[in-house]
């Protein structure tokens, strides 16, 4: 039972929601770039939250199914085809033994996910299946997948009832090539002048070519600050917006270092991380500050919706 990799794609890794509790040792969380997509896909299959998926960048992998598998593709739209026939994102399908899944072209987004009933089965490292590419640990042999790799799959009988089901548009993340990304204040936001903050929200930033699992560097009119910052190294998280000495911004992503020393001028709110993660080099984004309360409410709303979805799927599969 499992899949094999006929063509590896540019960066295909096994990931789950990440490895928590080791930041104090300098070991970062890793995990998928688009948590919302993966939580929805696993919920749709009746899987556990932390079930491992394949994360693919474009050009994506070519995957051969070694047994009948209930699965679903989502996140970025890479025009998936099964044995040459187009399939839909966010809709559960059955792949039979020998079926080939390919991705014909990138339509929207940067990270596409294949979730399978039961999740992919790799040795757990510190409680997670995520690949830590810096430490070369976790996932499949601590590295990106290569041609010939075979990944086993756990079994989950609950998924049978979900075949053909798809997610309603209302719960899906709204990916865009020019998203508005909501921020809350972070460590040094209040030390910026009103003019600087105004500039941050009035400027359109372009996602630069330096955008990977560690961070997205943006380019825009350099942000001028009157004061210079001398900060001691301290913790950073997924979504921390750092202001670099040259006036440009970099946003830390899933494989970020656990600590940093640049001013933290904002934090991308959890529910907007998918829109940011799915932005590609050349896409333009703007920022809008919201309160912590608004961020917490937005997060709670998504969690409520997800609970409803899980209950509904539980009803289908029992």
């Amino acid at each position: 039972m499992g899949i094999s990799i006929a063509k590896p794609g540019i960066l295909t890794t096994v990931q789950d929601l990440g490895r928590i509790g080791l930041a104090a040792s300098g070991i970062n969380r890793s995990g998928v770039m688009d948590r919302v997509a993966v939580r929805l896909l696993n919920a749709l299959l009746g899987n556990e939250e932390h079930s491992a998926v394949l994360e693919m960048h474009f050009p994506a992998a070519e995957i051969v199914f070694e047994a009948k598998t209930v699965c679903v593709v989502g996140g970025a739209d890479f025009s998936p085809v099964l044995n040459g026939r187009p399939i839909s994102n966010w809709k559960v399908f059955v792949a039979n033994k020998g079926d080939v899944l390919k991705f014909k072209g990138r339509k929207l987004g940067s990270w596409c996910y294949l979730a399978v009933s039961g999740g992919f089965k790799v040795p757990q490292w510190h409680g997670s299946s995520s690949t830590n590419l810096v430490a070369h640990c976790g996932g499949h042999e601590g590295r990106a997948l290569i041609k010939g790799d075979r990944i086993a799959v756990h079994t989950n009988r609950k998924s049978a009832g979900t075949i053909g089901k798809s997610l309603a548009h209302d719960i899906l993340p709204c990916y865009s090539t020019n998203p508005i990304i909501r921020l809350i204040e972070s460590g040094e936001t209040r030390q910026l002048s009103k003019e600087t903050l105004k500039q941050m929200t009035a400027t359109t930033f372009t996602v630069s070519i330096e955008a990977d699992r560690m961070g997205y560097r943006l380019s825009g009119t350099p942000i001028a600050t009157k004061k210079s910052f001398e900060l001691l190294t301290s913790a950073a998280t997924f979504g921390t917006v750092q202001l670099l000495p040259d006036g440009q911004l970099v946003i830390l992503m899933a494989d970020h270092q656990t600590s940093g020393g640049y001013p933290r001028v904002g934090a991308v709110i959890e529910v907007d991380l998918p829109q940011l993660a799915q932005a590609s080099p050349g896409n333009q984004l703007t920022f809008e500050f919201v309160t912590v309360e608004e961020a917490e409410f937005a997060f709670e709303k998504f969690e409520r919706d997800l609970r409803i979805l899980k209950t509904a799927i539980g009803g289908l599969s029992s």
Binding site: S25, G187, S234, T237, E296
Partner: protein, 222 residues
């Protein structure tokens, strides 16, 4: 300096205790992290001590389920409490670790640069470097990378203007008043004095990293 608490993200908050590398402030930070780990609130994930701050990571939904106020207010109150409770408690489990290292042409890539900049001999740089113990203030940057402080001003130099693309694992390096050892091969800009073959990061061990915040490191020549 009075401490301040801020949201790092909606599911993490930081208490900042000062803006200098100071062993007493760092001891307080480590104490806060330990207090929170020993008395976890619902939704607590991890407390990460740094030089002069502690960041607490939490599950926003679990905290919101128990908090009457916003999650951020609830967690801020826990940080205030931990800060008060931890001030006089010495952190447990700190250890003294000896790090034997080699000096030589192959591995002391920047020893000449440091000696030239400070106008002393290479041998003097090493003698000054090993003459005192170093406190592990925090881990970060790479798995198992310890930020140590207290490098003598006589050998203190800025980091390289342009970082090396690949610093070999085990490189013992300094930057300003900080010392560190590259636990894995990595890009890096610190000035490299020598190399150790002690494993700082052992992925198969239950505790994968050799150093913990609060440890004392003594460098000895091999």
């Amino acid at each position: 300096m009075k401490h301040r608490i801020f949201t790092l993200s909606e599911s993490s908050a930081t208490i900042e205790l000062g803006s200098k590398i100071d062993p007493d402030v760092n001891r307080h930070a480590i104490g806060i992290a330990q207090f929170l780990s020993d008395h976890p609130f619902p939704g607590f994930i991890e407390a990460v001590p740094a030089y002069s701050s502690v960041t607490v990571l939490f599950d926003l939904m679990e905290v919101r389920d128990v908090a009457n106020a916003s999650a951020h207010e609830f967690v801020s109150a826990r940080l205030e409490e931990a800060s008060r409770m931890a001030i006089y408690i010495e952190p447990d489990h700190t250890k003294e670790i000896e790090i034997p290292f080699t000096v030589g042409k192959e591995c002391s890539l920047d020893l000449g640069v440091v000696a030239a900049e400070k106008g002393i001999s290479e041998q003097e740089v090493i003698e000054i470097f090993i003459s005192r113990p170093y406190r592990v203030y925090m881990l970060g940057f790479l798995p198992g990378f310890a930020y140590m402080g207290g490098v003598d001003e006589r050998i203190s130099v800025a980091r390289k203007a342009s970082p090396r693309l690949k610093v070999p694992a085990g490189s013992v390096a300094i930057a300003g008043s900080q010392a560190g050892i590259y636990s894995l091969p990595s890009p890096g800009g610190w000035q490299i004095l020598g190399r150790t073959d002690v494993d700082l990061f052992s992925p198969t061990k239950k505790v994968p990293c050799l150093f913990s915040p609060g440890d004392t490191v003594r460098f000895v020549l091999k």
